[in-house]
Symmetry: C2
Subunit: 314 residues, 2 copies
C-alpha cells in the first residue's frame, strides 16, 4: 500500500474516531446533566408560582426571588415560559457543548451543573483537546500541498514570480478567500437565520468563535422555537471545525511567509516550513535558480525544518 | 553585543509592549463601554421601581419584567442591589477582559454592549491574539534550555539514562510540578478566597482556564465586596499568563517525547525538536554514542527540525 494511501486511511480513521468521541461525550453529558437541569427547572417554576401567589410584593421579596432567578439563569435555566420547552442537554445541545469544549471555544452558554459533570468535563477535555488538535493538524498537513505549496509553485512556474512575491500573492488570495468564505458569507447566513443578529453581530460571532475566544454572548440556535434546531447546531459544528482548519492553514501560510521574509529569524522564533516528503516535493523540484535565491534569505526552504502541532494547550 | 544578550533585550521589549497593549485596550474598552453600562444600569433600576409600584403583579407583567432583567444580566448587568456598586468596565475589569480576549480564554462574564465595543474587540483581538502567541512563544523558546534540554542532558550525563528514558523521566517530573504548581496550589488558594467555590470548582476553573476553554461559569473576583479586587484581578492575569506558558512548555516537552518514541512519525505529523542555536547545544555536545542511538529512532535529534509558534489561530 502506498504511503499516501495509508496516510488518507489514517486521516479517515482519525475523523471517524473524532466523531465517535464527540457522540460519546454528548451521551455522557446528556445523561449526567439532564436530570439536574429538570430538577432546577421545576424548582424555578415552583418559585415563580410562590412569588405570584404572594399577597404583597416588596423590594426584599423581589430581590430574593430575582437572586434565585439569576442563579438559575447562570446555569442556563431560564424562568421564561418560551424557553422552558427546549433543553440545554438534549443530544444535539450536548454534542454542541462537547464540541465547544474540545475545540476550546467554550461559549459557556451551557455549563455543567453537577460535580460529576464538572469532573467529566475535565477528563473529557484532557483527552479531547489534544485529540482535536491532532485531527486538525492531520487535516491541515494534508491540505498544505494542494492549498499552499501547489499554488505557490504554480505562481512561480507559470507567472514567473520570485519565491517572496509568489508567497505574498498566494497569502493575500488565501486570506481573501478565507475572509469571504468563513466570515462574510457565514455572517450573512447567520444574520438571516437569527432574527436578533445584525450583520456586525454575526461577523463578531464568527470572529470570536474562530479565534476560539468564544465569549458566548452570541450563540446560534439558542432562540426558542427555531426550526430544525438539531440540524442547525450540527451545521454550526461543521462550520466550526472547517473554520478552525482554515484559520490554522492561514496561520501556517503566514508563518511560512514570515520565514521567507526573515521575520521569524529577526524575532528569534522557530521557523515554519514544509515538512513531509510529499509537502516538500514541489519546492525542491522548482527552478534551481529560484531556490538558490530563496536559500539566500533566512534559510526559508530548509526541507528538514518542521512545524509543530503543539499549541498553547490545545 | 552577544546574541543571547540581544535576545533577552528583545524579549523584555516584547513583554513591556505587551503590557502596554493590554493597558491601552483596557482604557479603550473602559471608555467605550462604561457609559453604555451606566445607562443600562439606571434603566434596569427604573424598571424595578416601576415593577414594585404596580398595584397587581400578574404572570404576564412578571414575565415581561423578567425578560428585561435576564436580557440585562446577559450583558453583565445585575438588578441586585449588592452588585450595582462594582462596574464590569472599571480599569481592572477592562484589563482583565482585554487579557481574556487576547489569550482566547474569553470567559464571557463581561461582553461588549455597544457596536463600537464589538468592532473594537475584533480589531483588538486581531492584533492581540497573534501578539500574545508571539510573546508566549518567545518566552517558552528561552525557557526550553533551562527547563527541558538542560535537565534531560543532566539525567543522561549524571544518572546515565538513555535518551528515551531521560526524556520520559523529565516529562513525568515536569508534568507533576506543573500540576502541583499551576493546578493544585492555585485551586487551594482560589477555594479559600472565593467563598462559594469548592476545591473541585477551583480545579475545574484552573483547568477550563489554562485550556483556554474559558466557560466563564467560575470567574475570580466577581463577588461583590471582595477586598483588593483590582490587585486580585491582576494576580489572576499573571497566573493566566504564566500558566499558559507552562502549558505550552509541557506540550512542547510532550511533543518532543512523542517524536523520540516515534509517535509523530507513526501519525505522519510534524516533528518537534530543539531549534535555536542555543537550544541544540547540550544535545549536540552529548555523548556521541547516545546521540547515535537517538538518531536511530524516528530522526528525533535532527537539529534542523523546527517547532512552530503557530497555533490554531492564536
Amino acid at each position: 500500500m502506498s504511503s499516501g494511501y495509508k496516510s488518507w486511511i489514517l486521516l479517515t480513521g482519525f475523523i471517524l474516531f473524532y466523531v465517535a468521541y464527540l457522540l460519546l461525550g454528548a451521551l455522557v453529558f446528556s445523561t449526567i446533566e439532564r436530570p439536574v437541569e429538570d430538577k432546577l427547572k421545576s424548582d424555578i417554576q415552583v418559585l415563580k408560582e410562590e412569588f405570584l401567589n404572594q399577597s404583597c410584593v416588596n423590594a426584599t421579596s423581589l430581590e430574593n426571588f430575582l437572586e434565585k432567578v439569576l442563579q438559575a439563569n447562570k446555569y442556563g435555566i431560564s424562568i421564561l415560559p418560551n424557553s422552558s420547552a427546549s433543553s440545554n442537554w438534549d443530544l444535539a445541545s450536548s454534542l454542541f457543548f462537547a464540541n465547544t469544549l474540545v475545540t476550546t471555544v467554550g461559549y459557556g452558554h451551557t455549563t455543567p451543573l453537577s460535580d460529576t459533570g464538572k469532573a467529566f468535563s475535565i477528563f473529557y477535555a484532557l483527552l479531547g483537546v489534544p485529540f482535536t488538535m491532532l485531527v486538525l493538524t492531520a487535516c491541515v498537513q494534508r491540505l498544505m500541498h494542494p492549498v499552499t505549496y501547489g499554488p505557490i509553485d504554480m505562481c512561480r512556474q507559470r507567472i514567473g514570480l520570485d519565491p517572496l512575491a509568489a508567497t505574498a500573492v498566494h497569502f493575500a488570495i488565501l486570506l481573501l478567500l478565507v475572509v469571504l468564505g468563513f466570515f462574510v458569507v457565514p455572517a450573512v447566513v447567520f444574520s438571516h437565520i437569527e432574527d436578533t443578529w445584525s450583520f456586525l453581530d454575526a461577523i463578531y460571532f464568527c470572529f470570536i468563535t474562530l479565534c476560539t475566544i468564544g465569549l458566548g454572548d452570541y450563540v446560534p440556535g439558542e432562540k426558542p422555537g427555531q426550526k430544525f434546531r438539531s440540524l442547525y447546531k450540527i451545521s454550526v459544528m461543521v462550520y466550526l471545525f472547517l473554520g478552525l482548519m482554515m484559520m490554522y492553514l492561514v496561520l501556517r501560510a503566514f508563518h511560512r511567509m514570515a520565514d521567507l521574509h526573515g521575520l521569524t529569524s529577526f524575532f528569534q522564533l522557530p521557523h515554519c516550513d514544509e515538512d513531509t516528503e510529499e509537502d516538500k516535493e514541489p519546492i525542491i523540484e522548482a527552478d534551481p535558480e529560484d531556490q538558490h535565491e530563496a536559500e539566500a534569505s533566512a534559510k526559508p526552504l530548509d526541507p528538514a525544518s518542521q512545524t509543530s502541532y503543539n499549541t498553547i494547550n490545545r
